[in-house]
């Protein structure tokens, strides 16, 4: 039973990550700096919503198969049963969300947005590559599909880190400022959540690969990693920034205002 609870929590963690970063990226839709890039970031948002749906659907399936005795939320509240992708996305509150803090911080400017995506998607690419070996074939299948998308997200965002880092004086300053602002949220990427117990996972290896990649890209762009930083953490366990409440208030408003409706 403990294993099942862990897998469900881990699936919710992955789903929440995808949903919240998808939400943030979707805020750019219609407001991007270049039309082609507006399309690109909207498409990336769409990829993430798709990943969120895959993970929520699978989590819902497992919850509904094993509803008794699984207290699956951090705050101890029971999940609405039967669970669906929408009940999981729309009817849980801040303390029950397990997304990483880096996904929920505001977009900031184009440098912040593309840097955050680079740091996150490179981490996810490594993580999902490990998930290909997951004993649950559905998790492995979702990882396989997501890797195709994440590879593009990494490439796209990496290109922007290079372009802005090595573009104009202003863009370099802005990208370096983004690094200073976001770096504190990268430490959490490598803290293995207690419920991430699948045998295929090796967070230390993810961190090594991630460090190598990020260092190389920063070096090429002439950017540097801040020397001293504090690690902001807790998202994976439901301890969030104040920003998440506003995201959920906006995202969940219709489901909350008109309960039990079909849309």
């Amino acid at each position: 039973m403990a294993t099942m609870k862990n897998e469900i929590d881990f699936l919710l963690h992955l789903a929440d990550n995808a949903l919240i970063i998808g939400h943030r990226n979707s805020e750019w839709c219609g407001h991007g700096p270049i039309l082609e890039q507006d399309i690109a970031i909207t498409n990336i948002a769409l990829d993430y919503i798709g990943q969120a749906r895959n993970f929520y659907q699978h989590a819902a399936e497992l919850i509904n198969q094993h509803p008794i005795g699984i207290d699956i939320t951090q705050s101890g509240k029971d999940i609405v049963l039967p669970a669906t992708e929408d009940s999981l996305a729309y009817l849980r509150d801040v303390r029950e969300f397990k997304n990483l803090l880096i996904t929920e911080i505001p977009n900031g400017d184009w440098a912040h947005t593309t840097l955050r995506l680079f740091l996150l998607s490179e981490f996810e690419l490594q993580l999902f590559t490990q998930l290909l070996q997951h004993t649950d074939a559905q998790v492995a299948a979702i990882a396989e599909k997501s890797i195709k998308e994440l590879s593009y997200h990494v490439k796209w965002s990496q290109d922007w880190v290079l372009r802005l880092g090595d573009g104009t004086e202003e863009s370099k300053q802005r990208m370096q400022a983004a690094i200073e602002a976001i770096w504190a949220y990268t430490g959490e990427l490598f803290i293995q959540p207690e419920y991430a117990t699948a045998a295929c996972l090796n967070y230390a290896a993810i961190q090594t690969a991630w460090n190598k990649k990020v260092t190389a890209v920063f070096e090429e762009a002439g950017l540097h990693i801040p020397s001293k930083t504090f690690v902001q953490k807790g998202g994976a366990d439901g301890m969030h920034t104040e920003h998440l409440g506003y995201i959920l208030a906006e995202m969940q408003y219709l489901q909350r205002a008109y309960p039990n409706s079909e849309w």
């Binding site: 700096p33 270049i34 929520y56 290079l162 863009s171 219709l254 849309w263």
Partner: protein, 313 residues
């Protein structure tokens, strides 16, 4: 000489031969097309805003995904329409400038606010529906790049219209509150949708020449009537009503009669006094201005890379 060219040009048009960018064309034809295509492109881009307004609040993950894809489609339409206009010798930046300074217009419908989720249904059903009525004939426009762009635009728009209708259909089967939400949205969008076909034929200054050049195939009033006839039937499937007490089938004409359009409201919105004119334009200007440093950096980087490549060669 000019006259001979003009003769050949009109002859091609009459024979339904497409005009291509490098072909000779009257300056007025070029200018009319630039005005029309860029206005159309701007409408797609401004049109992203009222729908983008609901992406973060979409009521289910499925609806969110569909809405994202739809708004992304609109951006794509803007992109190929700008490209089609560029073949006529104007740059995208010049067109943006015309939009931002108010010199170029966009469809007035996007100056109305999207106040509820049902608006996403109605925008798809009525606004995209009216757009399709206008646009299907443009797939046979005499100017090749425009006609070809419109083929793809129309395919996607027809999908958009169906998804809008489906949103309303689900609401129509929903709770009383959802039905009220949907009826209210229909009430707000119906008349502005009818205005999308433009002024009455006898008050439409550019129409006659555009018909002769086959940029336009049907008159504003013809298309508007067709739209009313279709919607008057579709609304019955939803079990809602259109907010027009004069709407009535006319056996003799074989069409629905409908009430008078408030043209004063139409011209007010065209002139900038609609509920959201300022917000829409401000949002686009803000995106453009705040994106300037990004575009500068991208250009500087591309130049740097090109130089490095040259030096290495």
């Amino acid at each position: 000489m000019e006259q001979a060219f003009e003769q050949i040009f009109q002859d091609k048009i009459d024979r339904e031969v497409r005009i291509e960018p490098k072909d000779w064309m009257p300056e007025k034809y070029r200018q009319t097309l630039i005005r029309q295509i860029s206005q159309h492109a701007h409408s797609e881009i401004i049109g992203m805003l009222p729908e983008g307004n609901w992406i973060t609040r979409a009521p289910s993950l499925r609806r969110k995904a569909i809405l994202l894809a739809k708004v992304q489609d609109e951006a794509g339409h803007g992109l190929y329409l700008y490209s089609a206009a560029e073949t006529l010798g104007i740059s995208r930046d010049q067109m943006y400038d015309q939009l931002h300074t108010g010199k170029a217009k966009y469809s007035s419908i996007f100056n109305y606010p999207t106040l509820s989720w049902a608006d996403m249904g109605v925008v798809g059903w009525l606004v995209d529906g009216a757009a399709i009525m206008n646009q299907v004939p443009l797939c046979r426009s005499s100017f090749g790049p425009y006609a070809r762009a419109m083929v793809r635009v129309c395919k996607e728009e027809s999908f958009h219209q169906r998804q809008g209708f489906e949103i309303l259909y689900v609401l129509s089967k929903g709770t009383e509150a959802q039905r009220r939400m949907a009826q209210d949205a229909i009430n707000r969008w119906w008349w502005p949708s009818l205005m999308m076909f433009g002024p009455k034929d006898d008050e439409s200054p550019n129409s006659i020449q555009s018909m002769k050049w086959k940029i336009k195939r049907f008159s504003n009033d013809e298309l508007r009537q067709k739209f009313v006839d279709v919607c008057a039937e579709q609304v019955k499937v939803l079990g809602f009503t259109l907010p027009d007490k004069d709407l009535k089938w006319n056996e003799e004409r074989g069409h629905y009669d409908f009430g008078p359009i408030n043209w004063d409201e139409f011209w007010q919105v065209v002139q900038g006094n609609g509920p959201c004119n300022k917000e829409r334009l401000d949002a686009r200007k803000k995106a453009w201005e705040e994106g300037a440093w990004v575009r500068d950096a991208a250009l500087a980087y591309a130049n740097k890379k090109a130089k490095q490549k040259q030096a290495a060669a």
